[in-house]
């Protein structure tokens, strides 16, 4: 049985859906954030599989950029989370309704 890049894409789709489910089902802001990271990882795996399928290194360069942006996003997001926690002492996103109109 030959493993084709399509298999990796299907695995990546499953990981993406698990991440999306975690984002929708959990209320803890940190775990929702981790779910976003998992979704980004799934997309990266798709990029790598496509790079192999197409014989094109640009897919792997794209993964590099996704990782850089994800790192920046994590830094800012966690800083916001710590700042919110200092004020509210809670990591649950349902309590953050101050901007509600």
């Amino acid at each position: 049985m030959i493993v084709t890049p399509v298999w990796y894409m299907m695995l990546a789709a499953a990981l993406f859906v698990i991440g999306a489910g975690g984002l929708l089902l959990r209320r803890n802001a940190l775990i929702m954030f981790m779910s976003i990271e998992l979704m980004l990882n799934a997309v990266n795996l798709t990029f790598v599989a496509a790079a192999r399928q197409l014989g094109d290194i640009n897919g792997q360069v794209s993964v590099f950029f996704v990782m850089v942006v994800a790192a920046a996003e994590v830094v800012v997001g966690l800083a916001i989370m710590v700042a919110v926690f200092r004020r509210r002492a809670s990591a649950s996103i349902d309590e953050l309704a101050e901007l509600r109109g």
Partner: protein, 168 residues
Amino acid sequence: MTELVLFVLFGIGALAGAIMMVISRNPVYSALGLIAAMFSIAVLYVVNGAHFVAAVQIIVYAGAVMTLFLFVIMLIGVDQPEDTSEQLPIQRPAALALGALLLVGFLIVIGAGTLAGSDEGSVVGTVEAIADELFTNWLLPFEVTTLLLVIASVGAIVLAQFKLRDRR
């Protein structure tokens, strides 16, 4: 054959880590599940010839980012139980149903995909190959990401500093 074994082993590892991340009550276990998933994905990168990307995955994601996550989990506190009551009663079943629908849609699209593969397996993402691409065709985006990282680190410092001054 080797690839099949690696795919099954680490594919299951990635899925198990991901599911552990979503369902575990303790955020530290969630972080450990995500680390397991990221390591498994790094192995799959190596199988696909993306050696540099796999190294960056281990160093940046499983190393730096997850350490930051664990640090914040410890800072925020893991002892308070999560409020599992939903404000919208329909959200949980709707999320599960839409997730299943999304997965089915993905699998159909990928299964019916017409991705033209000519020289499969010929891409080896060594440092030289990536750098060759990165510093010629992708030079401007690469420079812009440095700006992004500077903005992100300045933003993180400002967010941390602001509250300190506020409290005094």
